[in-house]
Symmetry: C2
């Protein structure tokens, strides 16, 4: 079983010993960044919606984006999969193919270096991602300064729009997911569905932003409003977002119209939110969406008016507009 | 919730940035070893038997031992916990206390540097352990040579004995675990219960064995017979174990008599199985239990006679004596 899964995986450049022993061994040239994230069938994904390939892809993409959020270059993943006893090996192979393809497409040189397989009542996938800083300091959430430009790179609200469409058209009244409406949805809303099921965050721009002097950065996984408020809080400042900048920069993405509320409250795009000194040129791929303002006005405003952060929180889902 | 859990954790020496950002950041001075393992309520542990503290301890111990099995020094853990919605925060705090205590006791300087919390229908704990080789090459499973001494350090069969006792006295006929018999069991069979519920593998001896020139090494998690056969297979040799050496070295452990069958087929002790050149002095803590013999006689023998490996396999439990 393990052998069939491992056969789908290419090597990671940094690995001096891959899967098969008690540990993998990898070369590290300086500081290492480490992040872990678990996706569980039910709260985090629905098997009726994600193919195995898309699930593997999303697993890699969401963890690689945390590495990018520190300004680091992803070098390796470990993946622990636990699945029900009746899971076909072909599904595990598909997941492995998706993991490998996402690494190759989003973070060339990075690959799966280890992990394990086990049993669980629902599919559980735990990923740890490792990355290198190549001599740069890590870009944390704490460095934003008043006057800095707030910028964003990647899809914004598209993945949340995809989730809304899936719930509206591929779920029974009791919330049970089904795949009957999927082919039509994938055709009519290709960009939003792809952003939700197999996102393509701008992983390489993490290191680019760090080189360009980003003062603070994070990957936006829960929503722009929630994560911008978190970054503002960590830096002890406030952030004012601009409706005009958001709408002109992100009103239409990949051919899909995206409303402002989706940009502010949609999660799972895994784009990069970063701040740059006022006089810094933004790296290609980033667009200005607001400004860092001194503390005292609250942590997040939109065009100067109070904006209550909302989006996805694993413990309390805050409905948009509440 | 996360704040209460994080408050239980001490810092890792190698961490330059701990939990709270997209990633943790750690210093690495050379090659890094990486291992991941998931424990799931049901297949891997029973909440009726493990306290939260013991579960956290065992999570750390089982992953640290994979790092030790490479001859490395554990430096950091990441821990992803997913739990049912009605889980009290106090249980998560207990798990964190157990994780932290095991790191301090078994691998001083190592600590939890990151992770995440989520929801799942049963408790799922995914751990990744990182370690450093301090300039030594990794000790893999592939280097055993004919003539080498086979040696073992740690408990052997005690944890399996503990599991047998738990199933015999703390499980209903349908396998449901209960805790009613636990206090009596813990009193009458303290060593075996402790080995199963909160094992204390000899983590520091991994680096010691590497310094002493171990030619091959691994942590024994499934059973001595299964794992010795795996090491023999990876090295392309055979291993002959000695009944006399096993019984004189491990017949009584921590005051508990341990039968030969438990030594050969019991899993989860997480001791270290290593091979050393014939003329090498064994490091303190290791005892000779057999010899590496040339290929051709089968992968595992006991006193020269065929010995069918059996023990715990996540996909097929092979009953002893089958």
């Amino acid at each position: 079983m393990l052998a069939r899964v491992l056969a789908q995986l290419g090597a990671a450049d940094a690995a001096s010993l891959g899967p098969g022993d008690d540990c993998a061994v990898m070369r590290v040239r300086g500081e290492l960044v480490v992040t872990s994230d678990t996706m569980i069938e039910g709260p985090d994904f629905r098997s009726a919606w994600h193919s195995g390939y898309e699930l593997g892809w999303k697993l890699a993409a969401t963890n690689l984006s945390d590495v990018a959020g520190m300004g680091a270059r992803p070098t390796a993943l470990t993946v622990s999969l636990a699945v029900p006893g009746d899971t076909p090996v072909s599904l595990l192979e598909e997941i492995a193919r998706g993991l490998d393809a996402a690494c190759r497409a989003l973070a060339p040189g990075c690959g799966v270096i280890g992990g394990d397989l086990g049993r669980a009542p629902v599919l559980v996938a735990a990923v740890t991602a490792l990355g290198e800083l190549d001599g740069r300091p890590a870009v944390t959430r704490t460095g934003a300064r008043p006057g800095d430009t707030v910028a964003y790179a990647g899809d914004l609200g598209l993945a949340g729009l995809g989730l809304s469409l899936l719930f509206a058209e591929s779920a029974e009244a009791d919330g049970t997911a089904h795949g009957r409406a999927l082919p039509g949805l994938r055709k009519r809303h290709a960009a939003a569905l792809a952003a939700q099921l197999a996102p393509t965050p701008p992983i390489g721009l993490g290191a680019v932003a760090a080189e360009a002097g980003a003062t603070a950065m994070m990957d936006v996984s829960d929503s722009l409003s929630l994560d911008a408020a978190r970054l503002a809080g960590a830096s002890g400042v406030a952030i004012d977002l601009s409706t005009a900048a958001l709408e002109s920069g992100f009103g239409v993405q990949r051919g899909q119209a995206v409303p402002l509320v989706a940009m502010l409250t949609g999660g799972e795009d895994h784009g990069l939110l970063a701040t740059f000194a006022p006089d810094a040129a933004l790296p290609e791929g980033f667009r200005a969406i607001g400004r860092v303002v001194p503390e005292g006005e609250g942590s997040l405003t939109l065009d100067g008016a109070a904006c209550r952060p909302s989006g996805w929180d694993p413990y309390t889902v805050v409905p948009p507009g509440s």
